[in-house]
Every structure is written in C-alpha cells, then in structure tokens.
C-alpha cells in the first residue's frame, strides 16, 4: 500500500482539525486549486476522506490497519525525506549541513544545544485556534558522526 506523500499529509492534517470546504482548505494549505483537486480526488479514492455537507472530512470508518500503515515508521521516514529534500533544494539555504571536527568538550556543548532545541520544540505552546497550517514551521535537528552516517547508507545498500 502506498504511503502518503507530504502534500497529502498536509491536506489530511488540515482536515483533521475539522471538516473543511474547498475554499477553507485552500486558505489553510495555500495549495492551488488545480493541485488540491487532484489530491482530494486521490485521498477520496483511497477512502481517507469523504465529502460531507460541511466539506471534506476524515473517514471515521477507515480500517485501523490502513491508518497504521500510513502512520508507521517507514511512511513517516519517506515523508520526512521529502521535506528534507525541499529544505535542501531551497535557494536561500534553509537547511545547514556541515562536517566538522568536534572535540569531546565541544561535543558536550553541541549535544546540549541540540537537547535545548528539542526541549524548546517540546514546550512550544499549542497553535492558536485558527492558525493556518501553511504558517507552521518545519524544524530539523540532530547530528551524528560522519563514519556511522555513511555506514548506515552502506548498510542500506549492502
């Protein structure tokens, strides 16, 4: 079964806040109508969403195993890769990546900074009630040594 693309996830997240008519979906996601129409069609065909008098809504009768499949680790990884690709390919360098020698002492500082960022993200207040989804921020963090990072790629291929 195909997992969700990140653009389908965006629409599902918008609808999960409550049933939405087309115009509200466009405002929330900032997706153009021509794309949104195709995405809604695809999601409807797969029974993830249904059209109600209040607009598009999540299908409450979707079998749990199908829901589990689009929310499993592998599916989420695929979506994360798409978002990373978008950040990497952005012209104004939204994502920084560097390979650097980090001493033991500086590694502790780096780990603390990363933990701080993680704590910051965990303790952010909930979004205001009508905050549009397209204004949310995608944040990436983490670090690992060069060797193990490349070894994992080899492990994925070997």
């Amino acid at each position: 079964m195909q997992s969700l693309t990140s653009v389908e996830r965006l629409v599902i997240e918008s609808i999960s806040q409550g049933p939405k008519p087309l115009k509200a979906l466009m405002q929330d996601t900032r997706l153009e109508l021509r794309f949104l129409a195709n995405i809604l069609h695809a999601l409807t065909l797969r029974s993830f969403i249904v059209l109600t008098p209040d607009g598009y809504a999540l299908n409450k009768h979707l079998p749990p195993e199908e829901l589990a499949q689009i929310n499993n680790e592998k599916s989420r990884q695929s979506e994360a890769m798409e978002l990373l690709e978008s950040l990497c390919s952005s012209k104004d360098k939204k994502l920084g990546l560097r390979k650097a020698w980090v001493s033991e002492k500086d590694r502790k500082v780096l780990n603390a900074l990363i933990r701080n960022l993680e704590d910051f993200m965990q303790t952010l207040p909930a979004a205001p009630k009508n905050a549009p989804l397209h204004e949310y921020t995608v944040v990436v963090w983490g670090a690992d040594q060069y060797g193990p990072t490349v070894q994992r790629l080899i492990g994925g291929i070997a």
């Binding site: 195909q2 693309t5 794309f35 195709n38 695929s78």
Partner: protein, 115 residues
C-alpha cells in the same frame, strides 16, 4: 505493449520497406534470429540495443525511454530483491506525485514549470 514489441513496432515504422535481410545487415543480428524475433522470440539485451541504435540513426533521437529502460534492465541484473523493492517504491512514489500534481495521463515536457 511490451518493450520488445514497442521497439520492433517503432523499427518497422521507421523502416517499413526493410526486408529481413536488410534488418539483419543493419542490426548485425543473424537473419534467422531476426525472423524469430519478429515472430515473438524473446529479445536479448544486445539485440534490443541494436534495434534502438537503428531507430536512433533514423530518428536522430534515442528511442523513447531508452536510457531509463536500459537502467531498469541493468538494475534487474545487479540489484537484489530488497534494493529493487526500494527502487520500485521510489518510482511509485514519484509517479504518485506526478498524478497528484498533474493528474493522470498528463506527461509534462522537460522545460515546463511544474509548480
């Protein structure tokens, strides 16, 4: 239509008057083998490439999808099942994206802005 049938069909369209002998001379494939291929025998990779080259000579363009098809054939030869499954998922996902953005049955030319 299978890839083999496509390449033979394209070849026949570009060289409608070619006899089996002329096809054999052009592709370097033995005459009896050409006959067998035209009658459904399974084509080898080298034979496919010979036909593709012949098509390329006439149309001055590589046979549509040639590079991709060659890559796919090579993948099937060298990659294991897990790797092939990963590739399949990747391609499937790419196709799905295309359908989401452009709808089904819409092929976008290379220089057209996607979104």
């Amino acid at each position: 239509m299978s890839l083999q049938n496509r390449v033979l069909s394209e070849y026949r369209q570009l060289y409608p008057q070619h006899t089996l002998r002329e096809t054999s001379l052009q592709t370097g494939i033995q005459l009896t083998r050409v006959f067998r291929l035209m009658n459904g025998a399974a084509m080898k990779l080298e034979e496919f490439e010979s036909f593709s080259n012949a098509i390329g000579l006439k149309s001055q363009a590589e046979f549509q999808g040639g590079a991709f098809q060659r890559c796919a054939l090579k993948a099937q030869q060298v990659l294991n099942e897990i790797e092939l499954n990963k590739l399949t998922e990747l391609i499937g996902r790419h196709i799905h994206w295309h359908i989401l953005i452009h709808g089904e049955n819409n092929k976008i030319v290379v220089d057209q802005n996607i979104a």
